[in-house]
């Protein structure tokens, strides 16, 4: 179906190309903003210091400076490392990050591919990064990296389950896997007849939301779950041997995944790009406001992730496994049962 886009006749592949480029630009811009806002500024204020102030006004070009620094760094392969896998690992991790954004909607039709099984696809894509991390840990022929990689494997797989189960609660309540319909059902619903703020699933699925955020914290290997990159033990975990552009890819992947998960969380629990219908904002206005709304919600959620990251020590790996299997999964299962029963009853 040809689609008129500013009255331009565009073939299907041209549309997807534009959407892809717009998507990548949107992700990188959002990631850059998040890194500057939180990793450089908000964290420094939490530690009563100013953060980078030299590059650009108030250190705004610091990320540019760091990217430039990493690009011109030498790309070192350790002596007996497995060159091919060592080189490919960052690509796999980066791939899983960008594949996640394919299905996240940022406007009525601003989604790269509106798959019917939207949320199932997103959670599947996010678990590919485990393979990348394992490849990095094994291939860099370094004891610390091996330990880091194995810890990451154990942790990420353990926290896939709560992530999926928490998302499932939303699916039951929205009645569909497709992200657009989840967004629609949140903006059109109302709570006890008051349509003022629509029906964001964060209210009814509060347990799911908290477990989802904890699982996201673990998926991003952030403190208190940053055993794979435990600075005080494994120095830099599986990233120990990476320098130059490969380390840059890891850096971008890490923060892009943070933005990705935050966008998914805001779509599932905070109503995604839509504002409640009762506010009566016309549909074509949403084409423009949509991306801004989801950007704000994602940035806020990433803020929570960083706030938690810089306030807690880290769990030992057997403790975080116990937390996942014995605590988070039972809670999400109970949540599912309750949601299902309520869904049927109401």
């Amino acid at each position: 179906m040809t689609h008129t886009f500013f009255s331009l006749e565009l073939a299907y592949w041209q549309q997807t190309l534009i959407k892809l480029l717009a998507g990548v630009a949107f992700i990188l811009a959002l990631t850059g903003a998040v890194v500057y806002l939180y990793l450089f500024k908000f964290v420094s204020f939490m530690q009563s210091r100013l953060g980078p102030m030299e590059a650009g006004p108030y250190g705004s070009l610091q990320l540019l400076a760091e990217v430039g620094k990493w690009l011109q760094k030498e790309d070192i392969h350790t002596e007996n490392s497995d060159r091919l896998i060592f080189g490919l690992a960052p690509a796999v991790v980066m791939g899983s990050t960008f594949l996640m954004f394919v299905v996240i909607p940022a406007g009525p039709n601003a989604v790269i591919a509106d798959l019917p099984s939207g949320i199932y696809y997103v959670l599947a894509m996010s678990s590919i990064s485990v393979i990348g991390i394992l490849m990095a840990g094994w291939a860099s022929a370094n004891k610390y990296a091996l330990l880091g990689g194995l810890r990451a494997a154990g942790q990420l797989i353990a926290y896939e389950l709560p992530l999926v189960l928490a998302g499932l609660g939303v699916v039951i309540q929205a009645g569909s896997l497709n992200l657009q319909s989840i967004v629609a059902s949140q903006s059109s619903g109302e709570i006890f007849g008051i349509p003022a703020i629509g029906n964001p699933f964060i209210i009814t699925q509060i347990v799911g939301f908290v477990v989802f955020m904890i699982a996201v914290q673990a998926e991003l290997t952030q403190t208190p779950f940053d055993m794979p990159i435990a600075e005080s033990e494994l120095v830099a975990g599986y990233q120990v041997e990476y320098t130059g552009i490969r380390f840059l890819v890891y850096f971008i992947a890490e923060f892009a995944t943070a933005v990705g998960f935050a966008a998914v969380a805001s779509t599932l629990f905070l109503g995604g790009w839509a504002l409640p219908e009762s506010w009566g904002i016309s549909d074509d206005a949403m084409h423009v406001i949509g991306p801004i709304v989801i950007a704000i919600k994602a940035v806020l959620l990433v803020g929570v992730v960083f706030w938690v990251r810089f306030s807690f020590p880290r769990f030992r790996e057997d403790q975080l496994q116990r937390l996942a299997w014995k605590f988070l999964i039972p809670i999400t299962l109970i949540n599912l049962v309750v949601t299902a029963v309520l869904k049927v009853v109401l």
Binding site: T223, A230, E233, F310, P313, F315, R316
Partner: protein, 390 residues
């Protein structure tokens, strides 16, 4: 302060037994992991050779010696004034506290008595260097466990204490301010009032650390029941300071054997904890910092007037004899055994440093712990490399 329940202990042993069984079936052969000498968790250059079975430590052996400067050999060719500069580089965080026992031992040999004002200010600076040392530990324990923010709070508030020490002695880290018979100089005008202001800042810091670390469940998960040292083993290895008090040993040299300092005239409390685990060591040190701020407040109020230096000849020849004086340094008991033969330079100085004994327990303590617990236990023992290697 709930002691570790027996159920927790049984659970810990059961978990260990289960892991051991699994390993036996898998016959996974161990891996030697070198932690250090360049490693963020060791305060300086300590290398730990750990034989691992999976994530569990079978045997961990610290290798010291990367920072060995041969102090005891050097002191045999240095005059007493030069040794004072050498000696405050052993425990470089609480550096004034190193000079005090050495000078007290020399004064005991010479039969010289420092005037009351000098003794009082010596105690005041002793407690200030304790603050400078242990505040950094409170922050550092957090960073060893992964929380990055406490260490920034620690460095921020420790700067105020160091500024006060610099205002008096001229050196932030290496004051070189203690002399046989008294102190090199007197307090500058307005110093006491500023110090009381700094003490309030340190108290707010303690409250922040208590909320941020001590209260957080993640911290308690990582430290309760980890690295338990029973009182008997602690005394056998000669653990001293907060490490001993955390295992329930009610012993503090400032109260039990106070020579040449003015602690008996202050009212303060010795804090102990029954558990003997990493959490207890952190908790005892946190209370000790609060206690030190109260002591400094009392010290600031009652400074006696009088001379700062007793009558001492310019070229000091300590009469022949032997003396051993040890004081309650921030890291533990630090003592100097001076043997003098009436020369300009001592004949032999045995430096008993706290961290040497505190770390000598690690081979016994680190058997069968997980890799992250090595870092927790080492952080909670709180040693300084210069103290181990001398």
């Amino acid at each position: 302060m709930t002691a570790i329940t027996d159920r927790q202990k049984l659970q810990y042993i059961a978990a260990k037994a289960a892991d051991a069984r699994v390993n036996v079936e898998l016959e996974t052969e161990g891996m030697i992991l070198n932690i250090g000498p360049q490693h963020p968790a060791t305060h300086g250059t300590l290398r730990i050779v750990a034989k691992l079975d999976g994530e569990q430590v079978i045997l961990a052996e610290p290798m010291a010696g990367y920072m060995h400067r041969g102090y005891e050999k050097l002191t045999e060719v240095r005059t007493y004034a030069q040794i004072t500069t050498l000696v405050n580089r052993i425990d470089w965080l609480g550096s004034f506290a190193n000079e005090v026992p050495f000078i007290l031992a020399a004064e005991q040999l010479m039969g010289v008595e420092a005037p009351p004002r000098a003794t009082w200010i010596r105690t005041l600076l002793f407690e200030m260097s304790r603050l400078a040392n242990i505040i950094l530990f409170l922050g550092d324990m957090g960073v060893q466990l992964g929380a990055i923010t406490p260490v920034f709070f620690a460095f921020r508030d420790r700067e105020y204490v160091l500024d006060q020490i610099e205002a008096v002695t001229g050196g932030r880290f290496h004051p070189n301010f203690d002399r046989i018979g008294g102190l090199k100089d007197d307090l500058p005008k307005g110093w006491l009032a500023d110090t009381k202001g700094v003490m309030d800042k340190v108290r707010t810091f303690c409250d922040q650390i208590e909320d941020l670390l001590l209260g957080s469940e993640v911290f308690q998960q990582r430290t309760r029941g980890i690295g338990v040292i029973p009182a008997d083993v602690a005394t056998q290895y000669g653990l001293s300071g907060a490490n001993a008090r955390a295992s329930g040993i009610d012993w503090d040299l400032r109260r039990d054997n106070c020579i040449g300092l003015s602690y008996p005239q202050l009212d303060w409390k010795v804090w102990t904890h029954p558990d003997g685990d990493s959490f207890a060591r952190f908790w005892v040190r946190l209370q000790e910092v609060r206690e030190a701020t109260k002591m400094v407040d009392q010290l600031c109020d009652g400074v006696p007037s009088g001379p700062i230096m007793a009558k001492v000849p310019r070229i000091i020849k300590v009469p022949a004899g032997e003396a051993y004086i040890s004081t309650e340094n921030p890291l533990g008991e630090m003592g100097y055994y001076i043997v003098s033969k009436g020369d300009l330079t001592p004949f032999r100085v045995k430096i008993r440093s706290a961290s040497f004994n505190n770390v000598s327990i690690t081979p016994w303590l680190l058997r069968g712990v997980y890799v992250p617990d090595i870092i927790t236990i080492l952080a909670s023992l709180y040693f300084i490399l210069g103290d181990i290697d001398r």
